[in-house]
Amino acid sequence: MHILACVKQTPKSDNVKIDPATGCLIRSGVESAMNPFDEYALEEAVCLKEQLGGFVSVMTMGPAAAENVLRDSIARGADKAYQLGDMAFAGSDTWATSYALSKGAEKINAEMKIDLIICGKQTNDSDTGHIGPQISAWLGWPNAAFVRRIVEAGEKSITVERLTEDGTEVLELPYPCVISVVKEISNPRVRSVKGRMAAKRAEVTKWTADDIGADKNKLGVKNCPTRVVKSFAPKRDGNAVVVQGANGKEKAAKLVELLKENKYI
């Protein structure tokens, strides 16, 4: 089984400050590490490899320093690392990022057929949760997001249990497919001695936008369909309204009234 784990280097702390002028995270001076949700994804990939046999590739898109997260992945049990790095990628939103990652995955797939792509459910620096589902959309592969358990990884398909807002769903996806996982899925290991040594010696394959055959009109800050208008830490204002009523029905009616009044709906 060939599993591709997508990982990202993000600020180590989840308490990063926002630059009020640009609306962007202040990343300088903050220690970086693997996005915590990606640790769970990678661990699950390595566990699957240990159970079923196979190969774990790992891919990231990011600046030169993001190589560290790939070496860290090798230390945690990944076999081969790919880095997508190009100025053309700079400032990409999730649409452009997932496009680049899908092109990278296509190239890896041409080298060795991929059965499964695993992503963390979201990153701790942008929190969108888009990347996994978007990669699957670009590739045209089936997707399950918020996966908390792999029920069975079979010969031709994988059965997963995913969290929904009001419970769980069990889905069977034929290979190749994409899943993104929540932290309940695994218990990330401490990097082994062998892993640490392998990480230092590993060769990271580095690809530019041209190498992966990406259309530059779909990459970078200029071509993104989304713009960050403003990022801010929400202020506590204590203006909560508690809707009163005799029963649920009455409360619901009042709530709808209130929402209409304030033009939320």
């Binding site: 290991r189 401490v190 990097r191 082994s192 001695v193 062998k194 640490r196 040594m197």
Partner: protein, 409 residues
């Protein structure tokens, strides 16, 4: 001070320190109180490659030798000497096998040993044979392609949890100590059951069991080395494993200091931190110096051992021979004296350090909420298992007498 000389040893320290802090520390108090084996920690040890540190890469091990094994055992014991025994006792059970095994036996057992899929344990002690191993009564009588084992072992660490037991038996009782042999007995073999689970002073998370053998038929392919040479392999095993216990003792001493010094710096009496009182400060300095002396002895010894052990392992793999035979080719002598010295000194140091640390911190350290009383209980075992401190003295003096006699002095 780190006595790592190569990258592998340095990374062993890095990995085990992280493992101890992240995974052992949150579990140690609970598992000690429950007196239960931790399956969760077993899985963590397995995933972090702790079972294969000293085994060749061919079997999935790291190829690190006795030094890496000792370093890991020190760093894990520094946080919890009980949980550290899961990989520790598996190595103890497997060292005699690894020394005496034929290439075919290594193929059979070493892959699952190195991956941690199977746990090993060492079964020597009997109710009437402890320090005097020659008095053992467990017999293994040949019957066709099998040995029929009868007898009882007790105080066996990681009992019931381990999959394979290296059992010291007598295959020829009429020859007394010269009839002693080693057999590998697999859990689940008919007639092999577990008796009493001991309730212990320390290392409580590690289960200590009685093993009962009632007409257990063990295939003759499970004999290690040749019949009648069991005691020799046991001695050789202890030469390699006692520095491990010494390393564990250093870890316990260091861990006790790690808990004590920060407390003494913050605890104020008579208007000042109590570490500023010279009586206490000098005691701490003395304990730290002894701990470091022990560590220096352990790693000086294991590095020397590895200079023979690693080439012997390599040669055994290349020549399809036993490690024991290759060791004999490299060097005729034994490590008994220095192993005994390391274990004697470090075990006594661990006990002294843990005891004094409890006194230094006072009432709080006597309470179970504070980890020091556990260090004191755990330290004690290092003076007892794999030969008591008194037995170590016997080993040292026997070696010294022999040395001086050889010189004719």
């Amino acid at each position: 001070m780190d006595y790592a000389i190569n990258e592998m040893e340095q990374e062993t320290l890095n990995a085990t320190r992280e493992l101890a802090q992240k995974k052992l520390k949150p579990l140690r108090a609970e598992m000690d109180a429950k007196e239960q084996f931790s399956k969760e920690m077993y899985e963590e040890f397995r995933k972090s490659g702790m079972f294969g540190l000293w085994l060749p890469e061919k079997y999935g091990g790291l190829g690190g030798g006795i030094t890496c094994l000792a370093m890991a055992f020190e760093e894990l014991s520094r946080v919890c000497a009980g949980l550290a025994l899961t990989p520790g006792t598996s190595a103890l059970g497997a060292i005699p096998m690894f020394l005496a095994a034929t290439p075919q036996q290594r193929e059979r057992w070493c892959y699952d040993l190195a991956s941690g899929k199977k746990l090993w344990a060492f079964a020597l002690t009997e109710p009437e044979a402890g320090s005097d191993a020659t008095a053992l009564k467990t017999t293994a009588i040949k019957d066709g392609d099998y040995y029929v084992v009868n007898g009882t072992k007790h105080f066996i660490s990681t009992g019931k949890e381990a999959d394979f037991y290296t059992v010291i038996v007598n295959t020829n009782p009429s020859r007394g100590p010269r009839g002693i042999s080693m057999l590998v007995v697999e859990k689940g073999t008919e007639g092999f059951t577990f008796g009493k689970k001991e309730e212990k002073m320390g290392i409580r998370t590690n289960p200590t069991y009685e093993l009962i053998f009632d007409n257990v038929r063990v295939p003759k392919e499970n004999l290690l080395g040749s019949e009648g040479r069991g005691l020799l392999y046991v001695q050789e095993t202890l030469d390699y494993s006692r520095p491990g216990v010494a390393a564990q003792a250093v870890g316990i001493a260091q861990g006790a200091l790690d808990e004590t010094i920060p407390y003494l710096r913050t605890r104020k009496q008579f208007g000042q931190p109590i570490i500023t009182f010279q009586a206490l400060a000098h005691k701490v300095a003395e304990l730290a110096a002894k701990t470091e002396a022990g560590r220096a002895l352990v790693y000086t010894l294991t590095h020397k051992m590895d200079q023979e052990f690693l080439p012997a392992v390599k040669a055994a793999m290349e020549n399809n021979t036993t490690v024991h035979d290759e060791l004999k080719k490299i060097k005729g002598g034994r490590w008994t004296k220095y192993s005994a010295m390391a274990k004697l000194f470090c075990a006594n140091t661990a006990m002294e350090v843990a005891d004094e640390c409890v006194t230094l911190c006072g009432g709080v350290a006597y309470m179970r909420d504070f980890p020091l009383e556990k260090y004191m209980r755990d330290a004690k075992i290092t003076q007892i298992y794999e030969g008591t401190v008194h037995i170590q003295k016997n080993e040292i003096i026997a070696a010294l007498i022999k040395e001086y006699a050889a010189k004719g002095e």
